[in-house]
Amino acid sequence: MSVTREEVAKIASLARIKMGDEELDRMVPELNNILDWVEQLGEVDTSGVEPMTAVIPNTLRLRDDVVDAIPETSGGRRDDVLANAPVAEHGFFGVPKVIE
């Protein structure tokens, strides 16, 4: 399976990466090389094989039902959360106007 220039442009748009003509021209053969190579996985008979979900058997833990049990991942840290924002205003992230 190979991808066309239009398909790569579509994927780039889905991935929210702006790409110019020159970059697209470069990317198409590179991606097709990689996709041609992974194509060999189709040779393997995987009928009856379960896709891996956890590499080391583990159970999903529930945390204690306690408010702010782990300080680093708890609430009340608005200023820390905003500290690295390119634009922060009035305690919120600032973004360009979304609603016309």
Binding site: I17, L31, I34, Q40, P51, I70, A83, K97
Partner: protein, 493 residues
Amino acid sequence: MTDFTQLGVKQIRDGVAGGDFTAREVAESFNAAVAAAAELNAFIVTTPDHALAAADATDAKRAKGEDLGKMGGVPIGMKDLFATKGVQTTAASHILEGFKPEYESTVSQKLWDAGAGMLGKLNLDQFAMGSSNETSYFGNVNSPWKKAGTNAAMSPGGSSGGSSSAVAARIAPAATGTDTGGSIRQPAAFTGICGIKPTYGRCSRWGVVAFASSLDQAGPMARSVEDCAIMLEAMAGFDPKDATSLQMDVPNWEAALSADLKGKKVGIPREYRMDGTDQAILDSWEQGKAMLRDAGAEIVDVSLPHTKYALPAYYIIAPAEASSNLARYDGVRYGLRDLPEGAGLQDMYAATRAAGFGDEVKRRVLIGTYVLSAGFYDAYYTQAQKIRTLVAQDFEKAFEQCDVILAPTTPTASFPLGSLNDDPLTMYLNDVFAVPASLAGLPAMSVPATINSDGLPLGLQLVGKPFDEQGVLNAGLAIQQRAGFEAQPEKWW
């Protein structure tokens, strides 16, 4: 006077604890060595004050007779993938340039709690995507090694290339690395040092910039097996902030080190004898077998039939996870924002990510987006995850016949920077021997074996059963004792 930069983790820790020298003297020596090695480009930022403050704290504890910790007085390099509070953390990307976390990663915090100090943040391949340390926004890292008779800049391996370069050049006694598909083991092999990736879940991923979360594991890189054992003890341990953290006690790996392999079986996977592998690597593999036999082990042939499919499966799974993980870089919450005149929100995302990601990162995000997209998901992603199951089952069956597996770490020695840039696929093949253990979540280590005819180091890889870091370290120690690898790069920086 002792040249402190020649000392390893154990020697520094024991020397400081025994009063032979102070932690401050050690930190000052390494700070000076780091400052004099700018040509290696191993560090993105240096933090000499952090190293000195930790050293002073250790010296003060010793004066009061307190416990100095597992890493007391040891200054280390921190791969710039670990969030460090108040210290720029970039993942070697432009999109995170200037990002100063408000929190500390679990692994780095554990190291500071164990008495270590930080010399600086180490360069790497951008978002840990690369095998040569040529994808960093902050420039290539140079290996301290040179191919005999040439002056070409050599690759320190990747993605933990700043770590491998710094430890091999003796400007840091040890460094943290992370391994998603070989990023600790391959650079360790390229630079003649040791590096271990523990069982998936041993080290917390909290505060580690995410690449492929089902594969990412932190581990130590140092010049000896003992030093790796000590540092891994300090790094590992259960963390409720990481949902895949193993709820298990950390063994005392250092105390249980033993190079006596009597009664142990070492498996030699026949599928690792691949076309394109250097003869010198195959020869060193034979020597490795002889060393382990000499240590008392029995050598047995094993089969890992899906080996050839591990690498292509990895290059679906890892980019798929990366495309999802890297969706967070949107120019809103942290890092770079590129807002063209009059642009809306969607245009801002696309412009920010275009400006902030390098070529290899973009390639992988696009591959990941494609293989996860409607209509292709089953053919690519589900099939790759099924093959991942088969790769893991191969190891389970092999470990019914042996205790540890011996294989080369890489198919070749280090190569000149720029020599493999034409084709991403050729670069990917560097990790052909490293990726299977990553897919199966197994502990795996590279130890230096020998020097090839070009004067470059070669490594051997040991892969163990889940949770059996001890078996890996012990076999590594047996090789270390017999290989007697003492070579050092000649100083040119």
